[in-house]
């Protein structure tokens, strides 16, 4: 126990304190550094310190938004479940991104890769479910001459449905090509799709034969096969209206398509590659100047026509932003009230040691909040409760030490010896009792229901920090203030009498 009283440990504590204060007050540091007003909304928050964004990550119950647990059913045969789950997550991500959600969280779950959890801030449940569960139909078109057409991917031509659709595709993946240098998208067709695709590509090449990369005449519009989402014959009938074509030919917009609002013209275009040769095997490759991102986007777009599985919502939670804000206010109030009560009680009951413990408690609260920002821990209502509760538990170790301190003083020890003996003898109980709480938290964190995990994490962090704070910080403060200076008045120490040194 003498080790914790050494100067390196004390310097470390001071270091932790400074870092914690900086992290906790990051918003104010930023405001002061940029000479901005200390209250009200200013631009640039949360501040970015060399890549670190320091702010409290709020869970949906505090920020407002929608949480959905999906069960995946009807897995396609012969494909790895993990892959299917990952592809589904990619498609959901793509669809959700078009809603403009900040930090959407879409995670795989389930013991058999059969669950997906979606957290969307600021979106209501109806909109979220419509967007995620939307069924878009992928269609292939070829091009036929129409001199009245002025816009679109191929001016002078209008599209014609080919009968080849998303149902004929088994999957699309983004990968690096055989040369290992450029990104491509590989499409695998079903056997029925392969036959249709073979016919279409043969017709393509027959329209203007030759090597499309070198012979200019071989590069005609009829040689293109274009992929769209939800393109209908009604759209094609409007093809001579240039403003309509411009809108439809924009990159597909999943949110717009999902909303199915009458009168709105959504972007439906995916890609318009030229066919180099007849493709008979049902394995096509789209190449071009893809980056990893754009290739993945295109593959996801092709897949997103239809999700590889069916989604069944197991549970849906929607919390309004006003309720979230209200909860934040209430929990901050409860936290401050709790802390204040504890501080007043400790000082009244234990006097000087109580004051020192309160200082340690403030250090503890500051450090834990900093950890929440740094990790970052997503704070939920239950999580904040765990933290507030840990403030109460943090006191426990101090109480154990102080009660022991009183006993040792009564037994006739000097103050310095009593502080040392109190910490040393209280330690096994502090260690064992906190271990039991941390074990409970670990179990909750692993097997507890989702709502409970946030609570377990913050309580565990809190209990661990309280352990350090009581043994290191309170002990040091006691040693410095009590043993070093002249506090001999029993009334200030909360004991009967103190042995003269």
């Amino acid at each position: 126990m003498q080790l914790v009283l050494s100067w390196p440990v004390r310097l470390f504590v001071v270091g932790v304190l400074i870092v914690s204060l900086f992290v906790d007050g990051a918003g104010f540091v930023y405001r002061i550094a940029n000479k901005l007003p200390l209250t009200g909304n200013v631009a640039g928050l949360p501040p970015n310190f060399g890549g670190w964004q320091l702010y409290f990550h709020k869970g949906l119950d505090l920020a407002g938004g929608t949480h959905i647990d999906y069960q995946l059913t009807n897995f396609p045969a012969g494909q790895s479940r993990a892959d299917v789950q990952k592809r589904t997550i990619d498609v959901i991500n793509k669809r959700v991104n078009s809603l403009g959600v900040s930090e959407p969280e879409i995670r795989g779950a389930g013991t058999n890769n059969d669950r997906i959890t979606v957290d969307l801030a600021g979106v209501n449940a109806a909109q979220a479910q419509k967007t995620i569960g939307a069924v878009s139909k992928l269609v292939y078109t070829k091009w036929v001459k129409d001199v009245k057409v002025t816009g679109g991917p191929e001016p002078g031509y209008k599209p014609a449905l080919t009968g080849l659709t998303g149902d004929d595709i088994s999957n699309a993946t983004a990968t690096i090509d055989q040369t290992g240098t450029s990104w491509v998208v590989n499409i695998t067709f079903t056997s029925a799709g392969a036959t249709k695709f073979d016919t279409l590509t043969r017709d393509n090449v027959a329209a203007c034969p030759g090597d499309s990369t070198t012979v200019a005449s071989a590069n005609c519009a009829e040689r293109h096969l274009t992929i769209w989402l939800d393109l209908t014959q009604a759209d094609i009938d409007h093809w001579e209206d240039s403003s309509y074509v411009a809108k439809v030919s924009a990159t597909y917009d999943p949110a717009c398509l999902a909303a199915q609002a009458p009168g709105t013209i959504c972007g439906k275009f995916l890609t318009d590659p030229i066919t180099r040769e007849e493709i008979a095997g049902g394995q096509a490759q789209i190449s071009g100047s893809f980056t990893q991102q754009s290739a993945t986007d295109l593959a996801t777009g092709i897949n997103s026509g239809s999700l590889p599985v069916d989604l069944v919502a197991l549970d849906v939670t929607q919390v309004s932003a006003t309720l979230g804000a209200e909860s934040v206010k209430l929990s901050i109030a409860a936290g401050l009230l709790g802390l204040a009560i504890v501080v007043v009680f400790m000082i009244v009951y234990y006097r000087i040691p109580g004051l020192l413990a309160s200082l340690a408690l403030l250090f503890y609260a500051g450090a834990v909040l900093a950890v929440f920002k740094l990790v970052p821990v997503t704070l939920t209502l239950a999580g904040i409760t765990g933290f507030i509760l840990s403030v109460g538990m943090a006191v426990d170790a101090n109480v154990l030490i102080f009660e022991r301190f009183k006993e040792e003083v009564r037994a006739g020890r000097t103050i310095a010896a009593a502080v040392d003996a109190a910490v040393r003898r209280a330690w096994p109980a502090i260690r064992d009792s906190n271990t039991s709480t941390i074990i409970t938290c670990i179990i909750l964190g692993f097997v507890g229901p989702a709502a409970v995990k946030g609570f377990a994490i913050t309580l565990a962090i809190g209990v661990f920090a309280s352990l350090v704070s009581s043994i290191v910080v309170t002990h040091n403060l006691l040693a410095i203030v009590l043993a070093g200076s002249g506090f001999r008045r029993p009334g200030l120490l909360g004991v009967d009498r103190v042995r003269a040194v």
Binding site: V316, V319, L337, M393, S436, I443, L444, V447, G448
Partner: protein, 339 residues
């Protein structure tokens, strides 16, 4: 001079015994310098049957209620759809109930005050949820939806299974932890398991008191705060941790006293250890109860059930660690003596 401040401290400590618990404040009742260790008069071990009986008086009605009436289940255990709404016109409960009845999908209404209502339905499809919202809007005027919960049967079942599993795992882990920690008392592993087993019994005592009281609150008194949900499970597990906290502190003292006071009998050592640690246990629990009171007062409806559950559990945990766990250890020692 020093005597004067001592009396003042005495009075303060007497004031803060929570809930007027039946035990007198065990602090420095006699301030005279006594040779350490001091054995105070209060004989908890001698009156252990009284304290066991007191626990049973609370536990038995709870168990009867759990067995016959079960629990009022919150939405995450029962499954279904729950809308939390604020109606601007502040209609009466009867008005909202008749509006919900008119929808004819078995909705039930709970009033939360200030125009706030919780409306529960069986599980609804997304389209139905949207339909219900606009329907309420039409019947009751401007309505803001605070929260929508839809829980299917699968998730509800899993939540219950996970919760039970968590409580069982935590109990086993704590038993093992205590057995390991206390195997170095005289008697070795068998003694370790006596310590662990007694702590476990005290812990189950607290779990039964807490669940029993909630069963009574929810089913006998039909109070919404008595509904059990995932938060309640959180409370149970926290109580498990906290109860063991208190018990470990007593047991740790017994372990220490067994080493230093070899003249005393096992009963005397246990009684002495209880006396030496009771002040700390009561003070700590009291502090936590204060914090919980803060949550109960300021924390909003979502957290009030959790705060109440924790409060009951922590008071029970302190009681059981002082009046049940250590006396149980004595009983066990008598039935299965270790040299």
């Amino acid at each position: 001079m020093s005597e004067l401040s001592d009396i003042k401290a005495e009075q303060q400590s007497a004031d803060i015994v929570p809930d007027g618990a039946s035990e007198p404040e065990p602090a420095q009742a006699v301030a005279a310098p006594a040779p350490a260790p001091r054995i105070r008069r209060l004989n908890i071990i001698g009156r252990r049957n009284l304290f066991f009986a007191l626990s049973l008086i609370i536990i038995i009605p709870g168990i009867v209620s759990m067995a016959t009436r079960h629990f009022a289940l919150g939405i995450d255990f029962a499954g279904g759809t729950e809308l939390t709404v604020n109606v601007a016109n502040n209609p009466s409960l009867a008005q909202v109930q008749s509006a919900v009845d008119a929808e004819n999908i078995n909705g039930s209404v709970i009033q939360t005050g200030g125009g706030g209502y919780i409306i529960r339905y069986p599980p609804l499809s997304p389209a139905q949820v949207t339909g219900v919202q606009s329907d309420l809007q039409g019947r009751l005027g401007p309505t803001s939806v605070q929260q929508i919960l839809v829980v299917g049967g699968t998730i509800a079942g899993e939540t219950i299974a996970l919760s039970v599993l968590a409580v069982v795992l935590a109990s086993v882990a704590i038993l093992l932890l205590l057995a390991v920690r206390f195997r170095n008392v005289p008697g070795g592993w068998r003694a370790g398991f006596q310590f662990g087993g007694s702590a476990l019994a005290a812990l189950l005592h607290d779990v039964f008191i807490l669940t029993g009281i909630f069963s009574i609150l929810g089913k006998v008194f039909d109070l919404r705060i008595g509904e059990i949900d995932a938060f309640f499970v959180t409370a149970v597990l926290t109580v498990v941790g906290f109860s063991v906290h208190d018990t470990i502190v007593v047991f740790d003292r017994i372990r220490e006293n067994l080493r230093v006071s070899q003249r005393l009998s096992f009963d005397q050592v246990v009684n002495l250890s209880i006396m030496q640690t009771a002040a700390r246990s009561i003070i700590t629990s009291f502090t936590v109860v204060l914090v919980l009171a803060a949550i109960l007062i300021a924390g909003g409806t979502t957290l009030q059930g959790l705060a109440l559950a924790l409060m009951i559990g922590i008071v029970s945990g302190t009681y059981s660690s002082i009046f049940n766990a250590a006396p149980l250890l004595v009983v066990w020692r008598r039935l299965q003596p270790l040299r």
